[in-house]
Amino acid sequence: MSEPILTLKGIRYSYHSLTGEIPALKDISFQVKNGEFLALVGPSGCGKSTLLNIIAQLMEPEGGTISFQNPDGSIHYPRIGYMLQHDHLFEWRSIYQNVTLGLEIQKKLTPEQKERVNRLLQDYGLYSFRHKRPSELSGGMRQRAALIRTLALDPEILLLDEPFSALDYQTRLTVSADICRIIRKSGKTAILITHDLSEAVSIADRILVLSARPATIKAEIPIHLTLADDSLLAARKAPEFGSYFNQLWEELADEKAAL
């Protein structure tokens, strides 16, 4: 857990339009440790998603470098799994066809991989729903199917771009706790973007607060919660929860005032 897997140095990015340049990210540097759960919070529109897109190599930064140190010493860029805000399960595919979409695209649909997907479906309670259409599943189940679609490619780093924000509050509490438990159990490194401060505190090992645009890293808050039990909402009942929440709230309130 101590060695870094990803190091970002001086990442810079601007959007360009005919009316001018809009700087989105300014000198972002941080490290992600192997197996860590990192949360990014910041005022809306501050460039959090841009940062994830850059880490996922969907966009090229205008300046700065990303380096990686794979724990096994290999030299490939870490395999990235990306979970979007909506599950985007395709209605014209069954759940099974949806979760194997990535494998199908990468032409890795081998019997061993199919076996692995079936195991994931069984582990996360979707095996009996594998021939159903996405519309026949509840919001929480759909989000779990989206997670399996991401995990099917065996990513080394998971990027989560507000993956629970489309769910209603009740579902959101259970689904976010549920999905984070799955990710922790798999021992994967994860970076979560969220607007929900209590979600960030209850899930993450460390929270990075981004400033308003152009975004820089404003604060870094390591989270240590004393959990009474292993129930889904245990983290939210931890004694330190409130003070972390207030600390985050004040950091962000400063940013809003600065706007």
């Binding site: 996922a56 969907l58 990235i80 799994g81 990306y82 979007l84 805000q85 909506h86 985007h88 395709f90 209605e91 014209w92 595919r93 979409l101 990535g102 199908e104 695209i105 990468q106 259409r133 679609r149 490619l153």
Partner: protein, 283 residues
């Protein structure tokens, strides 16, 4: 609130039932729904019957001239004689064949061109004004050109059919392709796909409803183009029969042909409707 008794609790339940038909709200709703539909269907049939009866009576009482306006009975006998001498099957077959052929070509070329436009943003920007012009041009103006270039025959007619429907088809398919959710496209990239994967896994399967609705419009347009073509450049087909009939003042033939056209237009549209149903069911 009082406790509701079930029917079996009331000794006089059967008797009570006889007096007033006791329906649940759902049953009442279904019954009303069924009644409404039956009355709509009945009204449609009555409207047609009334029109035909009025037509027949007007002709037989010489309110209108049967020579110019024909009548249901003349149309029926014309239809029967066309059926017997085989001219109906031959002409109908030709028109249907040309329509289906130009329709299929429109859809294939349309999907192909829309794909190219979607794939190359520059191409779509460059070609946009030309597509708009070609789409709004009255295609019947082109028909004389087609005759000079291609002669009179099936090719000209199929080209006329294609020309009427193609540009609108390309534009609506391209618009449909463009409306696919950006996030769904991003998903494919996050799963390691490229632009071809985006097309195969999202754009094409996601656009099937658009393709089906475009087909519904274009089957009618292809028929319009084919009839225009037949007016000008055919020796067979329903369009030819209409022009020929009007030239020799056989208006029974003209009106019969028009009615047959109505029926095949409806049937062709219905075929696409079935395809759509089948697709929805499969989903």
């Amino acid at each position: 609130m009082k406790k509701q008794h079930s029917e079996s609790d009331i000794p006089s339940a059967p008797f009570f039932r006889k007096e007033t038909p006791c329906l649940t709200a759902q049953e009442a709703f279904l019954l009303a729904h069924k009644k409404h539909h039956t009355s709509i269907r009945l009204s449609r049939a009555l409207l047609l019957a009334a029109f035909l009866a009025l037509w027949e009576i007007s002709v037989s009482f010489h309110w209108i001239d049967g020579f110019f306006f024909s009548s249901p009975s003349r149309i029926a006998s014309c239809f029967l004689s066309m059926l017997q001498d085989g001219s109906l099957a031959a002409n109908l077959g030709i028109t249907l064949c040309e329509t289906v052929f130009s329709f299929l070509l429109v859809i294939l070329i349309g999907i192909f061109c829309a794909t190219l436009l979607w794939y190359s943003h520059s191409a779509s920007e460059i070609l946009e004004p030309y597509l708009v012009v070609l789409n709004s041009l009255p295609k019947s103006a082109l028909a004389p050109l087609f005759i000079v270039w291609l002669g009179t025959g099936m090719t000209t007619i199929i080209v006329a059919g294609i020309s009427v429907a193609l540009f609108g088809c390309i534009i609506s398919l391209y618009t449909g392709f463009k409306q696919v959710d950006e996030e769904k496209i991003k998903l494919i990239y996050t799963l390691g796909g490229n632009k071809i994967d985006v097309y195969r896994k999202v754009i094409l399967p996601g656009s099937i409803p658009t393709i089906l609705s475009t087909m519904k419009v274009n089957i009618g347009l292809a028929l319009v183009g084919v009839i225009i073509g037949e007016f000008l450049a055919a020796r067979r087909g329903l369009g030819y029969l209409i022009i020929y009939g009007s030239q020799v003042f056989q208006l029974n033939l003209v009106i019969t042909s028009i009615l047959i056209l109505c029926i095949i237009a409806m049937l062709l549209y219905q075929c696409i409707q079935w395809a759509e149903h089948w697709y929805r069911k499969r989903l």
